[in-house]
């Protein structure tokens, strides 16, 4: 099973290495990992996606909590959460395919952020399914390069 975990950490040298080392040292895999500062000075948020059964996930969360620089671990298994990923996709865009590329960009509410005589670079944001879908469609035209950020996630705010 694939799981998304949020980790609020102190923004200090070596913290990311501690988190990543915890995974590699125990044979757990990280599928994607994002990290950046939060609104609170001195704190960063790591969002990571990992695979494993319930038992492995329990261990991962406990081990993360054990790290001294980890302030809080958000286990998104039982909560509603929002997750997004951004991808930059460089796609071949010749005279006869440009209109099709733009149609796809429009359908996915993506953006063309760079244009050259033979290529468009597209920025797209969404969940995993959306990114996969646009990659598949553009792939039929000719994807040259892709850079994905990995997921960022937050628990949904309570409605009441």
């Amino acid at each position: 099973m694939r799981h998304t975990i949020g980790v609020l950490v102190e923004n200090q040298p070596g913290v990311l290495s501690r988190v990543a080392g915890l995974f590699s040292g125990r044979g757990f895999n990280i599928e994607s990992l994002t990290v950046a500062e939060t609104n609170e000075p001195g704190l960063s948020r790591i969002t990571l996606v990992t695979m494993g059964d319930q038992h492995i996930l329990e261990q991962i969360i406990k081990q993360l909590n054990k790290l001294i620089n980890v302030i809080k671990v958000y286990d998104f298994r039982d909560t509603e959460f929002v997750e997004r990923e951004m991808a930059l996709i460089k796609v071949r865009a010749e005279q006869h395919t440009r209109a099709e590329v733009l149609r796809i960009v429009d359908i996915f509410r993506a953006k063309v952020v760079d244009v050259s005589p033979h290529f468009y670079t597209i920025e797209v944001t969404g969940d995993d399914g959306k990114i996969q879908a646009i990659l598949e469609l553009l792939g039929q035209i000719g994807v040259v390069e892709v850079a994905r950020t990995g997921k960022a996630a937050l628990a949904r705010a309570k409605k009441h």
Binding site: V9, E10, G14, G25, L67
Partner: protein, 572 residues
């Protein structure tokens, strides 16, 4: 007034009550060594930095205080890694100070530079690189706090040379503020009640205690609860001494405690392993279900509901899924269970427990721990039993790793906590001698004995001179079988007696070696020489190394082959 980093270092150690540092100097740490003359702290100069780490570890295990070692950068720092990993696996409170090249040179492959913080990240509880002298006092305060609280462990502080040369105002923080560190010490009341309900109704309970009982000083509470519930007790290797294996009877003779099962696991007693496999409630206290204890996990304690107390939540349900987890300090949890047991004692507990204790008695009589000492040739078990017979109750025993360690666990009947110092988790050969020196430095008047093998003693034998120089009268009992015995035993049983690379037919003359170091060297080659040699060793005030020529092919039994259920023991 401004103080240099080196001065701040000693002021901090004074605040933490540090009495002894085990260390070895070098270029990067010289400013601290230069400053040392101005402070009344005892420094024990080792001969190898691994020795310093194990000595700090031995000191910590014997006293319960934080052990401290101080080494230089690069190779000095990397030489401590085995000692740090040893302490980490066995939850030993330790602070390791390493020198580092000046901050502008960090990352430039400078002379004697190594990323020790990176190297030790997986084997320390936490570690620090101090980049500004203003952070030094806070970091040292945090390091000691982290080392000794929650689940204890080693903490490393890396000190760049320019940081310890710089100056700042010295302020020692009164309190530690670490947002991400809040160990759960107080057990959850609801879980304690659930545990009590289960313990109350158990027909065949077994208490399984680990090193946590010793770390949290919960031995009295454990004994009290076990006696109240008439529950038999087994311990892990790390838990030995947490429950009195022997008590004195009416005639003043030492006899096995009626509830004592002996150690369990791969080299555990028949009765301990059988009791665990047949119990209906297994009460694990400060133990982590190590694979040397459980054998095949899926077949471990198959009939039992399991209660598990541990201060470290990651230890709970890591290997064996438990029914009632209790996160918290063992002592507090056992105190609360004792209170409940006092309020509502189990009626007719003796009667209820009779069939179970009778079954255990039968197991003990069917397959007791035993060996036969013939007229010729010394059995290693005989040496350990003689040491037990002759040593004072508060003697501290350290071991190396291998057969010597297991025979000590089986045949030395520990009655007090912090009297067995052994590398349980990592299994570090070379641990015993420096650990004994560390313990002896803490308790100069107690008898400290390292039970060693001829293979493992040679891993840190250079520390004999440290013992001699510092007048630390440790005794080293080498069970010399001319083999790397435990590996040889595995080769005998599982590798068709192919004794590849385990025969040590070219060892030094240990008596001459002891003499060369300025220690006393003794030898016993016949059974009748064992006792006189031990008496002589124990009565001298100098370090002694005794070379016992024991039967080369003696094995450690019982033994559970790796991957088998713990009831599937080889008994011969």
């Amino acid at each position: 007034m401004k103080l240099t980093g080196a001065q701040i270092f000693f002021e901090c150690l004074k605040k933490e009550g540090v009495e002894i540092i085990f260390g070895f100097p070098g270029g990067a740490i010289l400013d601290i060594y230069h400053e040392m003359r101005n402070h009344p702290i005892r420094h024990i100069l080792v001969r190898h930095e691994q020795g310093a780490a194990h000595m700090a570890d031995g000191y910590a295990r014997a006293t319960g205080k934080v052990g401290v070692c101080l080494v230089t950068s690069g190779p000095g720092a990397t030489n401590t890694v085995t000692g740090i990993a040893t302490a980490y696996m066995d939850s030993v409170p330790m602070v390791v100070f390493t020198g580092q090249v000046p901050t502008p040179l960090i990352g430039n492959d400078a002379f004697q530079e190594v990323d020790i913080v990176g190297i030790t990240r997986p084997c320390t509880k936490h570690n620090y690189l101090v980049k500004d002298v203003k952070d030094l006092a806070r970091v040292i305060r945090e390091a000691f706090y982290l080392a000794r609280t929650g689940r204890p462990g080693p903490v490393l502080v890396d000190l760049p040379k320019d940081v310890i040369q710089s100056s700042t105002e010295f302020r020692y923080p009164k309190a530690v503020h670490l947002r991400g560190y809040r160990p759960t010490v107080d057990p959850h009341q609801g879980q304690i009640l659930r545990a009590w309900e289960l313990l109350k109704t158990a027909k065949r309970p077994v208490f399984y205690a680990g090193g946590g009982v010793i770390i949290s000083s919960a031995h009295k509470e454990l004994l009290r609860l076990a006696e109240r519930l008439r529950a038999p007790v087994t311990t892990t290797l790390m838990g030995l001494g947490g429950f009195p294996a022997v008590i004195k009877n009416d005639k003043g003779q030492r006899v096995l405690h009626p509830l004592w099962l002996g150690m369990l696991g791969m080299h555990g007693t028949f009765r301990a392993n059988m009791a665990v496999q047949n119990c209906d409630v297994l009460f694990a206290i400060g133990a982590r279900f190590d694979d040397r204890v459980t054998g095949k996990i899926s077949g471990f304690a198959p009939k039992a509901k399991i209660i598990h107390i541990d201060v470290d939540p990651t230890s709970i349900s890591k290997n064996v899924v438990v029914d009632i987890p209790i996160v918290g300090d063992c002592k507090k949890a056992l105190q609360q269970l004792n209170e409940l047991a006092g309020k509502e004692p189990i009626a007719n507990v003796d009667e209820i427990r009779t069939p179970w204790l009778e079954q255990i008695r039968q197991w003990r009589e069917t397959y007791p721990l035993a060996y036969k000492q013939e007229k010729e040739g010394i059995k290693p078990q005989f040496v350990v039993e003689k040491i037990f017979e002759l040593a004072a109750e508060d003697a501290i025993i350290t071991t190396e790793v291998g057969q010597n360690q297991m025979w000590t666990a089986q045949y030395f009947h520990f009655t007090k906590p912090r009297t067995l110092l052994t590398s349980g988790g990592l299994g570090t050969m070379g641990y015993g001698l420096p650990a004994a020196i560390g313990a002896q430095a803490a308790f100069p008047d107690r008898l400290v004995i390292d039970v060693a093998g001829d293979g493992s003693i040679q891993m840190n034998i250079q520390e004999m001179i440290t013992a001699v120089c510092h007048e630390l009268p440790v005794k080293v009992a080498i069970l010399n079988n001319r083999f790397l015995g435990m590996v040889r035993q595995w080769q005998e049983l599982f590798y068709s007696k192919n004794y590849c690379a385990t025969c040590l037919d070219a060892s030094p003359d240990f008596v001459k070696l002891a003499d060369a170091y300025g220690a006393v060297g003794l030898r016993a080659t016949k059974p009748e020489e064992v006792e006189p040699v031990l008496r002589e060793a124990f009565s001298t005030k100098r370090p002694v190394m005794i070379d016992f020529w024991v039967n080369p092919e003696e094995g450690v039994y019982p033994m559970v082959p790796a991957g088998k259920n713990i009831s599937e023991m080889l008994l011969v």
